[in-house]
Structure formats: C-alpha cells, structure tokens
C-alpha cells in the first residue's frame, strides 16, 4: 500500500500562485471575497507564505507554498471529539464533512495552521458556480476542511490501475497544485517506493520537513539550498 507524500523544491518555486488557483478550481473551494479576506478569513488549502528578510535596500522575498503536511502523527486527529478527522491507511489526513460539529479544536491544535473553516455558507459568484468539479463534494457552512492531497485523483488512478490489473505507476497521480506548477517544483508520489521521484527528492541533502522537532512526522518535504 502506498504512503503518499509530496516534495516541494523551494529553489524552483517562483511564487506565481498557480498552485493556489488550481487548488481552488479542483476542490470547489468557496470564493469568500475581499470583505472576508479583510477579516482574515482567506480560504485556501494551499497558500504562499511570504517572508521578507534583509534590509530595505536589499530585501529578499521568500515564498513557501504551505499546505496540510499530512502528518503521520497528526495533532488534529488526536483532539477531534467525534472522529471527523482521521488518518487514512495511505497516510492522508481526511475530514468527514457530514460528521464535523465545527468545534474547530483541530484548527487550534494544528501547528501548521493548515485547516480552514466555513464561516458562512460557501458561495461562488457568477459563472464559477457552474464550474464545480463533480469529483469533489461540496461543503456546507460550519464545518472544517483541508487539503486532501487530491485524494479523488488517487482514487481515480487506483481504479484505472485495478482495471488494467497493475500497480499505480510513479507519477500517475498528480495533484492539481503539482499539475499546475510551471516550474515543476512540486512532486507527488509514494514515499514507500524507493524508486519513486518523491522518495528520491526526500532523500536529497537539501530536503527537510517543516517543524520536524514537533514529532508530527509530516509527509511534505521542502527542498532548499541552505546558506
């Protein structure tokens, strides 16, 4: 059984934001609008965290695409009172929207701030409403949601492979963010397969995981040349 993981090469990332846009389209994320964004309720499963360092004259801007890191020991799953968030057999942290009571304890417990909450009933202005992806369920107000590693694409690939009586090939599952990345900075695959591209990148000397010290064992790796 696969153990899905992701490697993001920060040295390749240009900070273009395609991954955010693709994720929104793919996963039917609500368009909360500028007013809600002002209120710090921006709604993304993946977002670019911007860090500015250096002096005003020589500022360095660094973008980190941040998403749920799909911990193997997820702090959010531990605290959920109703088993609405869980760790699947393939290592994806899922959310059961129909069971979630909206207490937001998982959001408070997540050290990566990866989860978002539907403060109002989700809305899509104009044409966007007709463009929703039929593979991904819509959420209602009052529940928490999060990145699923595009698990509907994983399911699709698994069915395809089963029909053709073979294993899922490396690179067959591509989440929307990875697919849209013009710099090919994002690689997705099976971490348990030593031949896979993602394991090769995860073994790179440039690779690290966010906040490894917390013992959450994330499955998202960042690659970055250290100074």
């Amino acid at each position: 059984m696969a153990r899905w993981g992701m490697a993001i090469d920060l040295d390749r990332c240009t900070g273009c934001g395609n991954c955010m846009a693709a994720c929104h389209q793919e996963n039917n994320l609500a368009a909360v609008g500028p007013e809600q964004t002002e209120q710090s309720r921006a709604f993304h499963w993946i977002r670019l965290v911007r860090e500015v360092s250096g002096s005003d004259a020589h500022a360095t801007v660094r973008y980190t695409p941040t998403l749920c890191v799909q911990c193997d020991d997820p702090p959010c799953v531990k605290v959920c009172p109703v088993h609405a968030t869980y760790l699947s057999e393939e290592g994806i942290v899922g959310q059961i929207y129909a069971r979630c009571i909206g207490c937001r304890y998982c959001m408070a417990a997540c050290p990566y701030n990866a989860k978002v909450f539907n403060w109002y009933e989700p809305e899509w202005p104009g044409e966007l409403k007709k463009k929703s992806n039929p593979d991904v369920s819509l959420r209602s107000h009052g529940v928490v949601e999060k990145c699923t590693f595009c698990h509907h694409r994983v399911n699709h690939a698994r069915e395809q492979a089963r029909a053709e009586d073979r294993e899922i090939r490396d690179g067959e599952v591509v989440p929307a963010c990875a697919e849209s990345c013009p710099a090919q900075a994002i690689v997705f695959g099976d971490l348990d397969d030593p031949e896979s591209m993602v394991s090769a990148r995860a073994r790179s000397p440039r690779a690290y995981r966010p906040h490894e010290d917390l013992g959450t064992r994330p499955k998202v790796f960042y690659l970055e040349e250290q100074e």
């Binding site: 531990k78 605290v79 009172p81 109703v82 609405a84 979630c100 009571i101 417990a109 990566y112 403060w119």
Partner: protein, 464 residues
Amino acid sequence: MSAEHTVRPELGPTVSHDLSERDIDVLLASVEQPGSAFRVVTTVLVLIILGAWVLFSRQILYGLGVTGLNQPVGWGFYIVNFVFFIGISHAGTLISAILRLSNAEWRRPITRMAEVITVVVLAIGAFHPVLDLGRPERMLNIFTAGRLQSPLLWDVSSISAYFMASTVYLYMPLIPDIALLRDRGARPRWLYSFMAWNWQNTPRQREVLERASNIMMILVIPIAVSVHTVISYIFAMTLQPGWHSTIFGPYFVVGAIFSGIAALMVVMIVLRKVFHLERFLKEIHFAHLSKLLLVMSLLWFYFTFSEFLTAFFGNEPAEIRVFFYKFTGPYAIPFWGMVVCNFLIPVVLLSFRRTRTIPGIMVASIAIVIGMWLERLNIVVPSLANPRLALPSGFYIPSLVEWGMFVGGLATFALGFVVFARFFPLISVWELREGQETAVSETAERVASYLPDRLENAPTGETT
C-alpha cells in the same frame, strides 16, 4: 407561625427556637414577601437575555461568520467565557465542601450561596461550547461517535459529573428549609410539599441527610478539581506555544478557586445589602474569606510568574513570540490589566486591616473577577494569534453578537440568583439553627480535646 404548621412532635424533637421568629422572617423574606421589586428585576433581566438571543439568531441563520472569529484566531469570547464561567463555579461547591469538611464553624451562612453560584454558573458555562459550534445541531455526535481520547470528551464527562454532584449537593441541605417553608404555608404549596420529600425532621431522616451530605462533600472535591484540570488540558494537550505547559492543570484550578471566591464575595455583599442580612453575614465572615482570597492571589501570582519566567528564559522562538505579544505587544493592556487586577489591587487592599473592610473587599473582588476574565482572554487569544509558521500575527475583534451573548450570560447569572432567592432561602436556616444549638458546645469539646492530657488520665506507658 402560620396556621398550617404541621410539624408533628411525635416524629422527632421539634426544633428549638434559639433563632428568633423575627430572624426567620428576615431569612425567608425573599420567599414570603417578594414584592414588586422581584417582578421588575426579573422582567429587566429576561428582556436583556431575550435581546441577547435576538442578536444570536443571526448566528443561527448565517453561521459563525457573524462573530469576529477568523483564521488563525478560531476561538474567542465563547471559549473565554466558557473557561471563565466554569472557573467561577469552583467557588461554590468546592469552598462549601472544604469548609464543611474542615469543620469551619463560620461557614454556616455562606455555604448555600456558594452552592447556588456553582449550579447557576456551571449551567451557563457548560452551554458556551455549544454556542461556539459551527453545527450545533450535530452536537449529539459527541455521544454517538465520541472519541474518549479527545480532551473535549474529558470535559463533557467531568462537567456533567460536576453538574450532577453540585445540584444534588445544593438540593440535599435545602430539604429541611423547604420543609420549613412548606410548614409555614409558602406558595406554591405543591412545589414545597413535593420538594420537601416528606421531611419531618425525624432523627432517622437527619442521620440519613448527614451521612449523604458527608459522602457528597467528599465526592465533590475531586470532581471539582478534575473539572478545571481537564479544561486546562484542552489547551495543554496541544503543541501550541503558550498552551503546551505542564503546570496548566493546577494553574487553572488555582485561578478557578480564586475567581470563584471573588465572585462569591461580590454576590454576598450585594445580597447582604438587598435582603438586609447584615446580622447573619457579618464582617468576620468577610474577613475570613478575604484572607483565603489573599492566599489565592499570592498563589495565582506564583503560578503566573513560574509560567512566564519559564517561557522567557527558554527563549524558544514560538514561545517568545507569544510572550512579547502579551508583554509589550497588542495584548499588553489585557496582560498588565490582569496583573494589576489579580495581584496588585487585591494584595494591597486585603493585606491591611484598614482596607480589609467591606468596601475594600468589594473593590478587590470585582477587580479579581475582571482580572480572571482577562486571564482567560490572555490564554486563549494570543496563542492562537501567533502561529508557529512565519505568518503575520492574527487579530480578533469580537462582534456585537459575541458581546451580546456575554452580557446575556451575566444577566442569566443574575436571573438565576433572583429566581433562587424568590423560591428558596439564601442562607441555610436549619444549619444556622443547628449551629446555635450545638456548635458552641461541640467546638468547646473539640478545643478541649486538643489540650494536653492531664497526668492522671494519660495512658500508663507514657507516664513512666
């Protein structure tokens, strides 16, 4: 005494009347002569509460978006007030149980009010997490799909146990007083005759009541301690900076008892004035309680100091960010306000006999109640606002709905007291009576038993 008086002397010794009829009239005045003030106050309070629910209806219609909550500050007033109100509830049952257990004779006019606070405030506090749910209609999932591994479930268990125990603990010592009201013909009669549980003051009944009270008072202490410990665990069990602390359990319990005693003092001073109880709630009762309050204030400071010094000295980036957010950042006013209200004001006012008067105690107690509310705010919001990731600090501005529910909660607290005072005596009449009949001789006996044995009575082994 009224014509309906039905105590049957053959069933047991009739109560002696050391407590004069006029005393009893004063103690039962709130029940027997409620007057128009009761109606006015109740109406005002009910209107305030209705207003709060009208505001809250917007949240029911549109969702939690009508609050000031956001990402990352996903918890605000509802959770702050949950922790705050449940903290206040520790006044009651815990204090009354400890005072009963330690045979503190001065407890007699205090315990009833303390127990009422617990029950009223616990009901209000326990309701707050429901207000905070995105999908309150799915609340019962906690029972059908509950995970006992989640600290929230520990809370549900602990708070419901405490609510049960403290309700029983309030009701049991109330039975003889309800019987007294029944015998005096207070209305509605069905209420008192039903609730008096056929109390006839027989020796057997008194024995059962005493034994049951003793069991409850011992049972209630560990439950009360567990309640605020597991509330602290909601925060301490996460990895978040400012929350992940081993002293949170005792820190919360100390803060809870601290705020509880302060709220008790405020209530006692107000009710003493309103119902003319000066002869029963005397300066000495306040002096004793205020010394307890002073000790709790010092303990609170000790815990706070340890908590913040550890964070500062360790200098861990995530922790220090929360630390300075409180010390010098946007939460400096709530933080230093908390230190002034919880430590400076009470310690100054309660340390000196000249200021340890009823007005001084009132000021200190109100300061502590405000300070402890600020403490809850300082715990919940700054940690959420400062995530570990390199994100800008979050902000939180409570909306009108949240303020409305806060005021509504306070009004419910007042209404709880008004309604209780309308139907039941605020000071335990039979316990005061018992005190006058037996306490002096019992205390004298007890003190005599502490004194050194006389030579001729001592066991022979030790005299050689």
